[in-house]
Amino acid sequence: MTGGPGGTGPALAVAHAVRTGERSARQVVEEALTAIVDGDGSIGAFVTVTGEEALAAADAVDASVVSGADPGVLAGVPVALKDNLCTHGIRTTCSSRILEHWRPPYDATVVGRLRAAGAVVVGKTNMDEFAMGSSTENSAFGPTRNPRDPGRVPGGSSGGSAAAVAAGFVPLALGSDTGGSIRQPAALCGVVGMKPTYGGISRYGLVAFASSLDQIGPLATTVADAALLYEAIGGHDPCDSTSLAEPPRPVTRALAEHGVEGLRVAVVRELVDGVDADVVRRVDEAAGALEAAGAKMLDEISIPELRYGLSAYYLLAPAEASSNLARYDGVGYGLRVEGPDVTAMNTATRTAGFGDEVKRRIMLGTYALSAGYYDAFYGKAQRVRTLVIEAFSRAYAQVDVLLGATSPTTAFALGAKVDDPLAMYLSDVCTVPSNLAGHPAISVPFGVGDDGLPVGVQVLANARGEAEMFRVAAAIEAAAPAAGS
């Protein structure tokens, strides 16, 4: 299947059917909306379902097909958007009370590109508040449940998007990934989730959590569908100063033209150390499958600097977040709780509007930046970042892609880690390094753990290495054990 005609997926199939007139976009979207209405009650993936707007958009797609115009590569494909992506006139809450009723007056760049590609937004998905969390239990509107087991978390912070795809409501969703927030929920829910090279997809309109780490990325049921979505929305944006100057990597073509022959692959010790044994087994199996498919499997390599990555991340990300979230002050939009003066009003608003995890990270971040502590915390963390980047650079002199676990465990029970922030933070240990380095990474479902819950295998590549990364991901997908085994 790899090295062949690019692979398949439900999004590709829908787009093809709509573009050729075989199916109407309206019919596709109606099916999706019905599935959501019928099934989301027990999962809670969606915060807002945009039924009317979606049907109108579907009709527009059908009209352009009829008129002979190009309806776009994602024509008629229903897409769910994480609720931190601005959608003009449609509630964008970040799963927070402080934005519970906020309707942005503008669209995020990726939303505009999705529409231009003919995709139909069917709703906004639940998340950990302001993207802070690894379980979607930090939502102000209630948790999302893992479609594979309702007593388990879907992961976070893009838990709603991952669940929406895993439950079959939509073939495609967008999430955001700052420390693993697309990849980890993808692994826990058994879907594909990918984070691009930093700057590969515009952040304009993504409500910021940690600006130097945040990236938007696709969630899908297949690698090929994820590649399709990545190409449709990626590329330079003049509204985002940190967006790369070039267009998205031509990954669909790479998938069509190449398998993994000759690609050098190695497992990273630090991404399997401390990981549950059943998860590590799946990583090893994936490595074996790659070798069988023609990749050059090298010995396990160690990148010791990655060990410091988690601590550095938990200083950098909250620091940037503490600044990014200062704007929620009750002045111009969102929640306001009145007070006798502006300071009291700011305080009352933020105290009522933010949940505990957000408050924790704001305080941690404020502390890391405060006078006298900057060098010891933020300054140090930035230097650790340099160490991680340089260490990866040395590794990529010998390999093309790296392998590891995405999450150290399968989906944990709802409530299991909610009172232990440190335990929650440790879920990110395998994913954070790619954010620190600005490198692309993808999680591919690969069988289940001993508890029958999904396991994701992570493929990491160097900056701008999406083509190699997707090729390896496709090969792993092709070799994945059948569902349930």
């Binding site: 940190t242 969102g334 405060s370």
Partner: protein
Amino acid sequence: MRAGTDPPGDPVALGRAEVAHVAKLARLALTEDELDRFTGQLATVLAHGADVAALDLEGVAPTAHPLPVHNVVRPDEPRPGLDRAEVLAAAPDVEDHRFRVPRIGGDAP
């Protein structure tokens, strides 16, 4: 950035006073109970980071941006903005086409 500033005491020993101070800086009001709980949780997180705090990274340059990009600018040309009515409609309190806020206590710091 702050050459030669000595942190007052061990930076990793985060106590109630420090948490109360940053809460105030961040415009967050904590109950006594929350202050205790958060102090414990934050101290645990920071203690976990002690390995980083202990590293000697004198010769290592800090990274502000993961990928080296420079000189991203735009031309000095007007672009369409937002409709005032739509923006003010989302505001908690408006008077005379402006955002209304309660009494401001002092000048900007």
